[in-house]
Symmetry: C2
Subunit: 405 residues, 2 copies
């Protein structure tokens, strides 16, 4: 008689964004005359830039002709894309990453979930609180998190690192020693960042304790300040302790196009075993490459024109972030983030819970955001708005919110 993986049964409720989707659908059905503005899920609204569109069309044409048709891709991804990444994301910042340390994938969400496969289920994880739910849920699915304690809204075998206002929403080094540390900077959901010196402390801590850092840099394109690292490998010694996840979703609008990559330096080892070779084995056995035409689209992002065009998109969203941040501050909200990140993190007014404020905003302003508590107990009393809407909708949403204040 087959048995299921009963770790799945321990998972509480359903996935945050599904719940929001259901609430919004119910509202829209009951109020068809009230147009909703969505600043909730971190999905982009600008179309793919012209250079990417051109590359897609051209790659589609290649697939139409036997002499240029592409079948199975190389396991790690096409070299043209891995070379562009090595040169422009790393070498240009003074970091040497070899192309066989780069693994092309269908996105950072898959990678951040799948990376757990190569680690023991006995490892203890440390996560920020609040946190992107995928890190915790995927570890729960593989049995690494202990039991779920519904009252505390926490797992028994996870080290939570509260990210609170007094610390600029950045975590402190934990007193208990973790085996795997999930960090995401610029942060989702709080929009916070840390300086290179602060990140260096994490690298040193990990190397000292023999921990591995899973560093999610999906939002690096939004960094505007000097001295905020774009890659963890800008820190000394990071190659012996860190895996970096990158995405094309937010820097180039690939949320529905799907492309990402993971960097695993060969120096990162457990005893004699290089994690690079374990991930190569997983990649070659459980994955068959991102589509050729999508990898060509990714390559286009790295061209001169492509870079100019995607930077324009990032600037557009960061202008939205400014509108939200300044508009809400004017209206008396306590806001953070939105400077090096497309997320604005705000304190709910009048001691409302995050979900109370979600309902309040939905009903009174017809604006959808994301309840901070959905990202962990320390997110309670906070709320996330994203800068990924259109400029017009973002302006309108802030006006609506100001008017209910």
């Amino acid at each position: 008689m087959f048995e299921i993986n009963d770790n799945y049964l321990k998972l509480p409720g359903s996935y945050l964004f599904s719940t929001i989707g259901k609430k919004v659908n119910a509202f829209t059905q009951a109020n068809p005359d009230k147009p909703i503005i969505r600043l909730g899920i971190g999905d982009v609204t600008l179309p793919l830039c012209p250079k990417v569109i051109e590359a897609l069309h051209s790659a589609v044409d290649e697939m139409a002709d036997a002499s240029t048709f592409k079948g199975y891709a190389p396991d790690l991804g096409y070299e043209f894309l891995r070379s562009a990444i090595a040169n422009q994301d790393y070498r240009a910042r003074g970091v040497e990453i070899e192309i066989d340390e780069i693994f092309i994938s269908d996105g950072a969400k898959s990678d951040s979930g799948n990376i757990g496969d190569i680690f023991s289920v006995n490892n203890k994880i440390a996560v920020c609180d609040p946190v992107y739910p995928v890190y915790v849920d995927t570890n729960a699915m593989s049995g690494r998190t202990g039991e779920y304690m519904a009252k505390e809204e926490r797992w028994s075998n996870v080290i939570y690192m509260p990210c609170l206002e007094e610390n600029n929403f950045a975590p402190k080094l934990p007193s208990e020693t973790p085996d795997m540390i999930y960090l995401c900077f610029p942060n989702n959901p709080t929009g916070s960042t840390i300086s290179k010196e602060e990140l260096q402390k994490w690298v040193d801590f990990a190397n000292e304790k023999g921990a591995v850092i899973i560093y999610d840099a999906a939002y690096e394109a939004y960094i505007s300040q000097e001295n905020v690292p774009h890659s963890i490998y800008e820190c000394q010694g990071a190659k012996t302790c860190a895996i970096e996840l990158r995405s094309f979703s937010k820097n180039a609008g690939f949320t529905g196009t799907r492309l990402g990559f993971t960097v695993i330096p060969k120096e990162l080892k457990s005893g004699d075993v290089a994690l690079n070779s374990l991930w190569a084995r997983r990649h070659g056995t459980k994955f068959n490459g991102a589509p050729y035409i999508i990898q060509k689209a990714g390559e286009a992002v790295y061209t001169e024109e492509g870079q100019a065009q995607v930077k324009e998109q990032v600037a557009y969203y960061m202008n939205n972030a400014k509108v939200i941040r300044e508009g809400l501050a004017d209206a008396g909200f306590r806001v953070s983030g939105g400077v090096d990140a497309p997320y604005i993190w705000l304190k709910t007014p009048d001691n409302m819970t995050s979900w109370e404020f979600f309902d309040y905003l939905l009903e009174r302003a017809n604006v959808v955001g994301t309840p901070g508590s959905g990202f962990g107990p320390s997110g309670e009393g906070y709320f996330r708005l994203t800068a990924f809407g259109t400029y017009e909708n973002t302006l309108a949403a802030i006006e609506r919110i100001k008017n209910i204040k």
Copy 2:
């Protein structure tokens, strides 16, 4: 101190096709004047059909315009594609599959590896021998296969079902009771199929024993004979015991375009728990959908024009299969497969091992095939050729092989 998943260390050697790639590269470097014909890896050579190309261009244009741009896809896949599948792959064969029983993915390789996530590591698997290596390797990675016994080339905790000549290369019901049974028909690598009545016996066996069948139907488009089932759900009672995997790689040439789907009927349960909901949770947490433009390409396969065009491609490859099968039979080889499948399975001559014959064919005919022993010990003494080359190359390869005989 973090630990790795040491199940990975138990995996023998490297992945079959990587080894072949290395041998072929070494040969080509040493013999740049000898052009290789590849009938080894099951990769297609015909370009995508015109209707699919048209859909891709059109979807790319949608991504270029804010009013039609698509961000994150629905977790399970777009309804337009799931509806087409439900209607044409299932309803047209008298099988009712609901659209929320269909999960769109980036391909059957990912799905066949990832499906293990929702099952207990204590389950005992049964696989055909020879077998597509991904089923076994991914179970080994999750710790379900026991220890690897190098001498026997088998895992200690796997039920192997030999597929031998005397049984037309189909497995017999195992005497030991498995929890999970991997079946693939039309079969990779042997090219064998079984009748609906024979498949019904497996369904009845699984229902009686409480086992689940992972049914890989990636090659169903190649079925030419009546009474060979295209879907396991054509059998009575399959919905309570079977998961079906499908691919666009071989029926529509999507090996480098990446699209597939998994069907999990809601009736398939462990106690009260529907596997459909577990997979939905995994899909929503560890995956972010196949690209919109690729899903539109998949939809085009189901149009009337698309169907006519992909059927022409399948006919082209099946003509190659005939050329190989009949040519080798004429030359005195013992061959099977190639009637309902794009694979021809041949007995190596003169008691050569599979790898000896691989080297012999590479050196003497400059033709690349796949050693049967790479698919399991019962594949020793056999060799796989694929019909996915061009017609011209296929003809030339068979001539070359005939000439060394």
